[in-house]
Amino acid sequence: MLNFIQGLGHSGLTFFQRLGRANILFGQILAGVPGILLRWPLIIQQLYYVGVLSVLIILVSGFFVGMVLGLQGYNILVDFGAEETLGVMVSLSLVRELGPVVAALLFAGRAGSALTAEIGLMKATEQLSAMEMMAIDPIRRVLTPRFLAGFISMPLLAAIFSAVGIMGGDFVGVGLLGVDEGAYWSQMQASVDLYDDILNGVIKSIVFGVVVTWIAVFEGYDAIPTSEGVSRATTRTVVHSSLAILGLDFILTAIMF
């Protein structure tokens, strides 16, 4: 019994220690932002790894999610004779929810895990310590550009996801199932609001971008410097960021809509 309580206390303490370390790291990363803004090449390089390499998976899954939405939405709406509102359904679900959330989940799997593995291995092979020996702050040199790259890429990726998804819905709904093209777009334009829907979607994706890259960078930096530790940290990144995305999405939706 005492052992159990001790175990509970231990895991509670480790949890709060990690949370505290994560917050301190977040502060240190933010403190490095002004300095790194003067060194664009570092950010551009990370934008390539974090953003450009994620575009393909975002394009493909966005298009397929849009097509599935078009198909499912059509099958339901046609029962009510309301298939003209297909555009509204596809665009609102993409812009408000699926765009930011699914793009962030894919981003966590594609880019977040890679960030953690890279930083964890840097730590395991003592590259971070080597930097410190050369009086280079590894947080500012390694973590801040990666964090900024995630922060910039995520809203762009989510916007690409939504835009491609709406085209996918158009392809299935208008192209294959015969919904009127004018109705698809005009009903969409009449119901989607720039501020309430699109801007809130962008805000969501910015929040997700910050959280996912924060978790990824922290897990890598905090990983136990062994191959097992790095692999565990990578798994944790994907699991924790997915849970954080879904939980935050509920909270943000409750606040926004």
Binding site: L47, G51, L157, I166, Q189
Partner: protein, 156 residues
């Protein structure tokens, strides 16, 4: 290590694609092109019942959208709804005795304000008030009236 120039070009393309996607969402998907809040002039109309009408509902004349509902409030003295309507500035030749009614697009569709022109020589100005209005049609009232008429018939 990859060629810096190629990396930069690809990153540039990525950012451009993201911005184009955002731009497309703003222009093609949302109502930005119609949504011009500050332009135009505002008129008010009071209705007995505006059930179902929302802020930003369309305002149409002859089936063409010429403006939007900008505000709905309640008049505590006369127990009426006051609807503020913003009409685009290019439609500035509406006669002063224009009347407003609340219609439903389709049987269960969204509510909109329909304007019908009168024959007055003068034109509507900013802050003018429409005198002739017709309320929104409440389906429940209509059904109950319909059912009542059946009950009355049975009694006779």
């Amino acid at each position: 290590m990859m060629n810096t120039r190629k990396t930069e070009i690809l990153v540039g393309l990525f950012i451009a694609a993201g911005l184009v996607a955002l731009f497309m969402l703003a222009m093609k998907v949302s109502n930005l092109n119609i949504y011009s809040d500050d332009s135009g002039y505002e008129i008010t109309a009071s209705f007995e019942n505006v059930s179902g009408l929302k802020v930003k509902s369309p305002v149409e004349m002859a089936g063409v959208r010429i403006g939007r509902v900008s505000d709905i409030s309640f008049d505590g003295e006369r127990f009426e709804a006051i609807v503020k309507i913003r009409i685009e500035s290019k439609y500035n030749t509406l006669p002063k005795d224009t009347s407003a009614s609340i219609y439903t697009a389709g049987l269960l569709g969204e509510k909109y304000v329909g304007l019908e022109p009168g024959g007055d020589e003068e034109n509507l100005q900013d802050k003018d008030k429409l005198k002739l209005t017709q309320s929104s049609l409440v389906l429940e009232k209509l059904i109950s009236r319909f059912v009542d008429s059946f009950i009355d018939k049975d009694k006779k």
